[in-house]
Symmetry: C2
Subunit: 222 residues, 2 copies
Amino acid sequence: MARYLIEPDPGLVLRDTNTPVGARILAEGLVLMSELGLEGFTFRKLAERAGCTEMTVYHYFANKHRLLQYYDQMYWLWLATHCKQEGRHLKDPMERLRGDITAISGIWPADAMAGPFDPAALRQLVVNEGSKSFLHKDVDADNKLQLFKPYKDLCGHIAGELKACAPGLKHARSFATTLVDMAHSLEFAMHHLPALTELSKRKDRKKLAAFLTDLAERYLSR
Amino acid sequence: MARYLIEPDPGLVLRDTNTPVGARILAEGLVLMSELGLEGFTFRKLAERAGCTEMTVYHYFANKHRLLQYYDQMYWLWLATHCKQEGRHLKDPMERLRGDITAISGIWPADAMAGPFDPAALRQLVVNEGSKSFLHKDVDADNKLQLFKPYKDLCGHIAGELKACAPGLKHARSFATTLVDMAHSLEFAMHHLPALTELSKRKDRKKLAAFLTDLAERYLSR
DNA sequence: CTCTCATTTATAGTACTACTATATTTGCTG
DNA sequence: CAGCAAATATAGTAGTACTATAAATGAGAG
């Protein structure tokens, strides 16, 4: 299992997190934000959990939204890197696409690690809170700061594979976004709004990947 | 143009809004929440705008999330009613489906009204803030209160039309959710994250409807 | 081995949010 | 015009999301 070097945009962070306290803040922050949700999560609570003061946390991150965006970037960067890596030794673009869909559905080698984080923990946070990274009044400013680049890059990569499968395709990006979006949206539905999907919590991500793969095959088939 | 009777779940509201103040709160709340986003929106600001006291607002709604959920229900109830109504005189299920897709893309008769609200204003709010109705730690409790029923009903209705087009279809609900979800998600992307889609702000919703219709036709074509 | 400088802490404070509580006034209804 | 719900006025609480500043700590350089 290859470990990739993943570094979110340094603009997200106020100071290098590669310190004992910095690492604890990142590790405990992920757990706590997942536990409490972005609204219930505060730097005060994180400081308590990480064994430092609130001020120290503020020295690393300007606010909790930036911390969420950090995890978000970490997740999408890792996922895109993983997709590209896995696709490297596959000649058939359709096979690469299938591999990508498996990955965006949350199916990875058991020992996968996104830098210091368990990607499954990152994914859970991103499924539940990730869209709050951009669903706010400063989207456009944040977008100018390139904060959503990793997400766009993944969608762009998948759009590229789609084009490789069907060179004349008109809406590769819109459809790539559809696949990535629904991988998360349907996972949320499976757990909280089961009436929205035939997929069940039990049967897991394989069924999700199967639905998305089928969708892609039908979309490409003419 | 038929006007439908639309009543969100009375459990969302603490007292009948059919009063001069209640109506002002609802009307100004929609504008203000759209302007400020859910995070920047407060009952204090709404009271000022509606010419009443903060306490009066609290007499009508327990908190701002409930008010958002009220608009959300209003939107989905109206949209589902509209879809069903328009489909009534169409015999071909494929034509009904195309009509539904046009509607979820935000294309309606110019004089459409959702009760006292302009559905275009509701849609803008729901595109930008709607998912905060369920993206929080109380989803499961809110779901038990049936707060998401109107949304599920619309997806269920579209799933029904899909089944009418292709009786053997296995994932009608997942695909219906995909259509409804992406109608909003791509509209947000068009305005704020244009790299995610070929659709442009300018060329509008017709292109969005065309993409979704094409997606549905391909999905159903085998 | 101690000086230095960045990191971390301690302490304090501000403006605002999201309410709750209660007493009083207003205005329609029978 | 009595009664009652709706609306207001006023006050207060606990917490959030920071900012500010000075003091303590500790690792690395000379």
